[in-house]
Amino acid sequence: MKYSGLQKEVLKLYRSCIRQAYKKPTENQDHWVRFVHEQFDKYRAIPKRDFATIEHLLRTGHRRLEMYSNDNITDVH
């Protein structure tokens, strides 16, 4: 199965999120990974063809990733 362009974008965002999680302090990395999982799980049921929603979520996701990438934010939940 080949991924569509949009799917690739989502996987890319997911990859960046997990990578970023591993840059957080070791003791909190589990929290971050769990947090990323929760966030992506929320929208798991969105149909593949719902481009507008997925694009909106991608934009929000990138913005939030950028925000959480701040080194001053060390833990979540």
Binding site: M1, Y3, Q7, K8, L11, Y14, R15, I18, R19, Y22
Partner: protein, 130 residues
């Protein structure tokens, strides 16, 4: 006592391109050193064969919770079809492999890796994987 007399360093340095004979004790002058068993390679590791890569990947997959219960891991196994991983899980497994072999898989190439065998081949092709 000079530091080059330490037994570990002695043989290594006596064979090295730097002339350190002035540092070594009389017992280990070059003529004597030539008759010795050459180099002690404490830091060398066995080279990474496809079998070793495969075994290490299997180990990672076995410890990964989302792998479907009762699925058998084989070289031909596809992450999504045989092991029951979704696309996000696959991304995570590949990130795990990146850590394990200390390599970096670019996004577009990671999207192409769909079976265990493809992962083995990709890692074997990377010169800096350990």
């Amino acid at each position: 006592m000079n530091r080059f007399n330490h037994p570990i360093l002695r043989t290594a340095f006596s064979k090295s391109k730097w002339n350190l004979s002035k540092y070594t004790s009389p017992l280990f002058r070059p003529s004597y050193a030539r008759t010795m068993i050459p180099l002690r390679t404490y830091s060398s590791t066995p080279s990474l064969t496809k079998e070793i890569i495969y075994d290490r990947i299997v180990e990672i997959l076995e410890s990964y919770d989302n792998v479907k219960q009762g699925s058998t891991i084989s070289p031909a196994a596809s992450f999504s079809k045989d092991l029951g991983l979704d696309s996000l899980d696959t991304v995570e497994v590949l990130l795990e492999l990146e850590n394990e072999f200390s390599i970096l898989i670019p996004d577009n190439e990671a999207d192409e890796i769909k079976t265990v065998q493809q992962a083995v081949d990709y890692i074997a092709a990377q010169e800096d994987s350990i």
